[in-house]
Structure formats: C-alpha cells, structure tokens
Amino acid sequence: MAVCNTEMQKSQSCEHTSRSSRKALGIVLFAIAILAVSPLIGAMIAAPTLVGGDLRAHSFSAATVANAGSNQTVWIGNQTQLNGTLTTSDYSWLNLYFNWTLEDNGTRNLSGRVVPYTFSTTGIHNVTLTVTDPTNTSSTGEVFITVVPRPVTGSNRTLHEGSDVLTITLNASLSEPLGLIVSYEWNISTKGGTLLANLNGSVVQYSFNKPGNYTVTLTVKDSNGMVASKTMFVRVLAKPLFIVAHWIFTFIELPILLIVAYSIIGRLRKGSGLITNTDIEKARLQYKTFKKDWKVFKANRLGFSGLIVLLIFVMMAVLAPWLSTVPNPDQHEEPNVPDPIDPKNLPYLQKNPLVPSLKKSIYTNWTHPLGTDHKGQDIYSLTLYGSRASLIVGLIATAISVILGALIGLGAGYFGKITDEVLMRVTDFFLVLPWFPLMIVMMAILGQRFMWVVVVIGITSWPSTARIVRSQVLTVKERQFIVRAQAIGASDSHIIRTHILPNVLPLIFANTVLLIAIAIFSESFLDFFGLGDPNVISWGTMLESAYEQQAFKAGAWWWIGAPGVAIVGMVLAFSLVGYAVDDVLNPKLRRR
C-alpha cells in the first residue's frame, strides 16, 4: 500500500487509498520530479565545459579555405561590411586571426572577422583576407569591391503649372568624390522613355513645356574612369481649372454676391429706394430681440467662455502670418542643420535624419516655442495655420448641410402627404447609413482634395437638420398668419420665403453651431485616416504624420499635444456655444 505508482492508481485497489498512502504518493512524485529535473540542472552547471569544449586545440586542415564574402558595388562615402567566414564552419572564431589587406590611398591592414570600412577612393579594390590559426597555418580569400562615384541630383520635385516657373535648375556639383568628377551627363526623358534632352555640365537648366511625369538621369564619370548614375523624378502638374482652383469663390462668394445684387436690383426696380422705413423698423426690432437674447446668453457662463475661446481661434486663423514665428511653416529648414538630439530619441533618429525636437533652434532663440516635427517644421506655426483649415471646413461643410437639410425639411414639412413620406424615408435611409464609413468610401473614390473633404462632410451630415426643419415647419404651418396668407392667395414660394423661413431659421441656428463642431471633428478624422489633402496644413494631418513617424515611441508629446489640444478646444468651444444658443433660442426643445 505504501507505494502507489501510476499503473496502480488506475486499478481498483488504489481508488480507496488511505491518507497515509496519499502522502507517500506525494513524496514519490516529488522524487520523480527531482530526478527528472536534475539532468537539466547538471547540464546547466556543466554547460561551459560541455558546450565550449577546448578552445585552443583546433587547427584547420588544408581543405579549409577562407571566404571573404561576395563582390559588392558601393557608392563612395557609403560604409561596406567586410565579412569573413571559413568554408567549414565548425571552428570557434575565437582562436583564429582574420586579417584584411587592401589598397586605398596606400596599403591598409584591418583585423577582425567582421569589419566595417569606408573607402576614400573610387575604383575596383582588391581586398585580401588572411585567416591564421594558432599553429600558423593560414588560408587566403579574395573579394572585389567596386567603389563608384556618388551622383547627387537633389530630391524629386513637383512643379505646378501656373504658379511655378517650369524651369528647373539641376545641380550635381555636390557629387562625390568632390572635385574629381570629370563629366556630368543629364538625360531628361518622359515616363514613357522618350528622350527629351541630353545636357552636359555640373549645373544645368531645363524648361518643361507641358504637364506630365519626367525622369531625370544623372550619369557621372570620375578621374578613375568609374561611372555611376542616379534617377530622379519630376512631376509637372497641369494648371487646375478656375472653378477648382478658386472653389471657395465660385461656390460660396459668387452666389452670395449674386443674391445681394439680385435683391438690390429688385428694390431699385420697384422704385421704393434701397432702404425703406419698414426695413429700419424691422432692423430695430431684430436688434431689440438680439439684445435680449444676448443678455440670456451672457448669463450662461459655459457658453460665454466657449465664445471667447472661439474668438481666440478666429484671431489665430486671421492673424496667423503675423503670429507665426517662421515665415512659411510648410517650408522646412535645411536638412543639414543638426538639431540638438536627445539620446533617448536615438532609435527614432535612425529612421529620420531630423528628430522632432523641443529644444531651441540654433538659428534664433524663439523660433520653435513648441518644438519641431520630423521635418524640422515649427509645430507652433503649423498649429496656427491649421485653425484656418478647421474653420473653413466647419463653416462651409455646415453651410452645405444646412442648405440641403433645410430644402428637404421645408419640402417635406410644407407640402406634406406623399412628398413628406418620400422625403422622410430618404432622410431616414441616410440617417441609418453609418456616416463615418460612408465618408471614408466617398473620399477614397473621389481622391484627396480639400474641396472634396468639405463637400463629403457637407453631404453626409444633412439628415438631422432635415428632421429638425421639418418638425419646426409643421408647427409654424398651423399658425394663423400662414392660413391667412394662403386665404388671400399668396403663392407657396412667397409663403415659404417671407413667413416660414424667417420663423424656422433661428430655431435651427443652435443645431447649426453643433454641426460645425461635428464637421471639424469629422475633418480631423478624415485627415488622420490619411484621406485629407496633403497640401493643406491641418491639425488632423499633423497628428497623422505624428502617428506615421511614431512620435509616441520617441515621446514627442508636443507634436501630438499642440494639434490635439487645438482640436479639442475648438470642438468643445463650438459645442458649448451650441448648447448655450439652444438654451436661449428654444428652451423647450430637447438637446440632441
């Protein structure tokens, strides 16, 4: 009974084991466990002798040959890695001596199995590797390293027809080895491969005459006769259509001007003068109600502080060129200016030559109050300019959505019956569609243009406005003065224009302010998703680049913080003002 092994455990006799035998079983299992583990522990203790063996005993036979690696071609100034191995690999590297000999401005000897080396002359270099073991037996290997001059073309360029001069200056005078290049040859061809020009000289100029994609290939030859070439790309973008280039003017300012002109002409033709007494009376009444509403609004502390924050943002947007510390925040500094580097950011530095830095620039003391990003762009100035994009999107997208929503809501509410049913079903349908994914899909198809961002946000956010307008129209429609206007034979358009709209619009004002907040929110989301216009400075794009460049790993909090605080501040301000206006204008209506 004392020992109960696994075989017996399963058998009947062991099912009723007493307490003492269970204890015994535990001891046996423990012993087995120790026995099982002990070889491992033993192995760990004995490991150095077992694994390492005798380090000095080996010497290699005549069959073993040193291998100096494969032939390489490198640009001058680039480091190469000399990596020596042996054809049979069961030798400990520790007791072998690796010696490299090469000619580079005189004979050089390097030792070590893996050696980084940077050549200072071009040409085909013959590198000899000698491996010697403790018994002085040696073996040699050879490798050819071709070092070619490094052509410097400059970075890829994009030219805009209309705003840029289409002549580019190509400068290859920084090509290495400096001063030893004897010929420069530039081949400019279209993407299709048609050669357009063949130019010689270290600095040349070329004018493009039509939009398209071009390749520029630079071939340099140095005094040693080595040749290398490099290709860069030039994109020439076609001049955009007037409507697209000045879309804000075309779609916003022009219609407003036309409407104003139309009403002025209408008044002049009636012959009653530009400003009648009725107008003055109306203005006086409106001013009175406004003063009353303003008093209520001012009493709402949250709403009032929101308004002040908003005013600050508007000032930022308007005065950005004067407040910013760099002339044009989109233009980053010269890349060869070393910014002070925090050792913590070193792993990050390997990815980007310019680390985002909070330290002051070496130019001036106050150029970067909020640090820089990975390209050396000033975060503070970018944040200032970013408020412009947010405000434009907020206001115009909301205008689009209010116009759409008001038209549909008015139609549904005023005409009723089948019109109402159809329009409301359509509204319900768009209300059900998930609008974030819808925006993504539309932007992905339409392409990344600032105009499309605005339009897409505008046409995906109208359903809520339509519903509110409809409910307001339904209540106004039942009022006495509408019935009277209908009784004296006023047309539908007249009633809508002069009676319904003036009574409904103030009520949807609060909703409009809240919509602005959502539009700004959506814009930052689209930008962050990578669907924003890359040529427009906006907070969402800043955050996207911060995320893309892994600012969170480098601890670049200012890069995320500044645009982040700005977005939250602006959205919060609009929301607070919206709620406050809602309280003032329609105290009985439920918020959202």
Binding site: F429, V432, I440, A444, L446, I560, G564, I567, R590
Partner: protein, 324 residues
C-alpha cells in the same frame, strides 16, 4: 394586435431599407467619377486580377443585369474578389477573422460604455448643480469633444510607448497559432486592454451626457414629487420612477449613434493596429482595393440597420405607449 402590426411595419421597413442599402452600395461604386471600370478595377493590379473582377461583377453587362447578379451574390454571401489586400482570393474567406476581432472589441467596449455611461450620468444627475455634477460633466464633455484617435494616441504614447506596460500593436501576440487556449485568451486580453479602454471612455461620454440630461428632465416631473410625498426612499424613486422613464432617450440615441460608434471603432483599431474591420477598411483604402471596401461598407451598413431595428423593438417593450 397592436404590437403585431407594429412589428410587421418595422420589419417591412427593415426589408425595404435593406434593399435600398444594397442598391446604394451597388451604385455608389459605379456612378462615382471614372465609372466602375476605373473604380472597381484598380489600375496597378495584374491582368489576371482585373479579368477576375470584371468576370465576377459582370462589369461589361448593362447595369440592371449587373444589379441582379450583385443581389444574388450578396444573398449567397459572395462579396467578390479582393484586388489587393488578399490578391485575387474570395473576400468572403478573409472576412470572418477581422469581423470576430471587431465584434470582440466593440462588444466589450459598448457593454462597458453603456454601463459606465449610464452610471456616471445617473450619479451626476442625482447631484445636479453640486461639484460632483460639474466635474462629471466636464469629464464627459471633454471626452465627447475629443476625437477618439487623439485619446487613443495619448494612451498609446503613455502606456505602450513610455511605460511599456502594454503592446504597441496587434490583436494578439506572435505565435498565436501555436498557443493553447489559455494562452490565446491571455494574449487577446493583454492586447485588448488599451483599445477597449480608449473605445469605452470615448463612447461612454456620449451616454453619460444623454443620461444626465434625460434624468435631470425626469427628476423635475410632478410624479417624482408625488413619489417623494409618499415617503419613498431616494433609491426607490430613482430606480422605480425616474430611471425607467429616463432610459428611453438613451435607447433611441444608442441606436442612432451606432454609426458614431463604428467611427470610434475604426479610429481605435487604426491607432492600435488592431486587426479588425476598421484596420481592414484602412488597408482597403490605402491599397485602393475597392471591391473589398464595397463589402466592408455593406456589412457595416447592415449591422447599423439591424441595430436600429433591434433598438426599435426594445423601445417598444420599454415604452408601451409607442403606437406610431
């Protein structure tokens, strides 16, 4: 009887809207500038894939025939061929994993958000005007105005980048296939903590705001005064009289805001590189894989539609007064 006709009408609407969504999804990718040939057939892909997509969607046929074919494909859960993400393979085969990951994240997050949001809203409303109310609402309003990706980014920076408590990306760790069930669950939970917290706090803010507003309205009603006059305890008033009525708007808004919730989910998945539907959307957009994008959008739209339908049904049970 009343209830049955209500259900019948809601179901009819559900079916009609479902067809409308499928039709919308069909035409959205065909009427946009460039036409189906440019949108659905990506430029960079190989001739083989291009032909396969043309074949699959019958792009050379007239639109009505294409639509009938598309309908058939959708109802047999055949979403076509991926152009770039899963080069040339059937989209349906790749979808289950990301859908499962997203359901896990959104399910956990939404459940937590509703529970926490309602609790916070109730807590603030009951102490209306006191410091607790102000602090709670300032908290909710700030997070409501904060884009989800921003909060997620800050969380990522602090807890994954700086403190290294949690992983930087992924829905599960390396070697997931070889793990036993316990390790799999552990790895999932470890990777889900940050995304779920970011998602929950953002969504919770909205519920808290609605709950607080709705409950403060209800608490000023006459029947609350009556209940107090009867000598009921605060707890009983809150639980039996106030909360029952105040929950109604929360249910409505919960349904409407599903679209919002999906947006939040996409942002969170994007920031934490969590391999769900949101990340898949991002891949599809970046790789210009429009057949895949079409499938994802359809799935999201149908999910929102069904969620709305369910909310309507729940609403009816919660509020027997509903007739229209």
């Amino acid at each position: 009887m009343e209830m049955r006709s209500y259900m019948a009408r809601k179901t009819t609407y559900l079916v009609i809207t479902l067809f409308a969504i499928i039709a919308f999804n069909f035409f959205l990718f065909r009427i946009m500038p460039g036409g189906p040939e440019n949108v659905l057939v990506p430029k960079g892909s190989s001739e083989f894939i291009k032909d396969a997509i043309r074949e699959k969607f019958h792009l050379n046929d007239p639109y009505p025939e294409q639509f009938v074919i598309y309908l058939k494909q959708v109802f047999t859960l055949d979403f076509g061929i991926s152009a770039a993400r899963w080069k040339g393979t059937n989209i349906t085969e790749g979808l289950p994993t990301p859908i499962f990951n997203t359901v896990l994240l959104v399910g956990t997050g939404t459940a937590l958000a509703i529970w926490l949001g309602v609790s916070l809203g109730r807590f603030a409303a009951w102490r209306r005007g006191k410091p607790a109310d102000t602090v709670g609402m300032a908290f909710a309003l700030t997070f409501y105005s904060m884009p989800t990706f921003l909060f997620a980014l800050v969380m990522l920076m602090v807890f994954a980048g700086e403190l290294r408590w949690f992983p930087l990306n992924g829905a599960y760790g390396r070697g997931y296939e070889d793990m036993n069930i316990l390790e799999k669950v552990g790895s999932r939970i470890y990777h889900m903590v940050l995304p779920v917290i970011a998602f929950t706090i953002e969504v919770m803010a909205e519920y808290a705001l609605i709950m607080r507003n709705s409950l403060t309205d209800v608490l000023t009603e006459d029947y609350i005064v009556t209940a107090r006059a009867k000598g009921l305890s605060n707890k009983a008033i809150l639980r039996d009289h106030a909360m029952r009525n105040a929950m109604l708007p929360v249910v409505t808004v919960a349904a409407i805001s599903i679209g919002w919730v999906l947006g939040g989910d996409i942002m969170v998945e994007l920031v934490f590189s969590y391999e769900g539907l949101g990340m898949l959307t991002w891949d599809a957009v970046n790789l210009r894989d429009f057949p895949l994008l079409q499938a994802i959008f359809l799935i999201m739209a149908i999910v929102v539609l069904v969620a709305n339908f369910l909310a309507d049904i729940i609403y009816m049970y919660l509020d027997p007064r509903v007739k229209v």
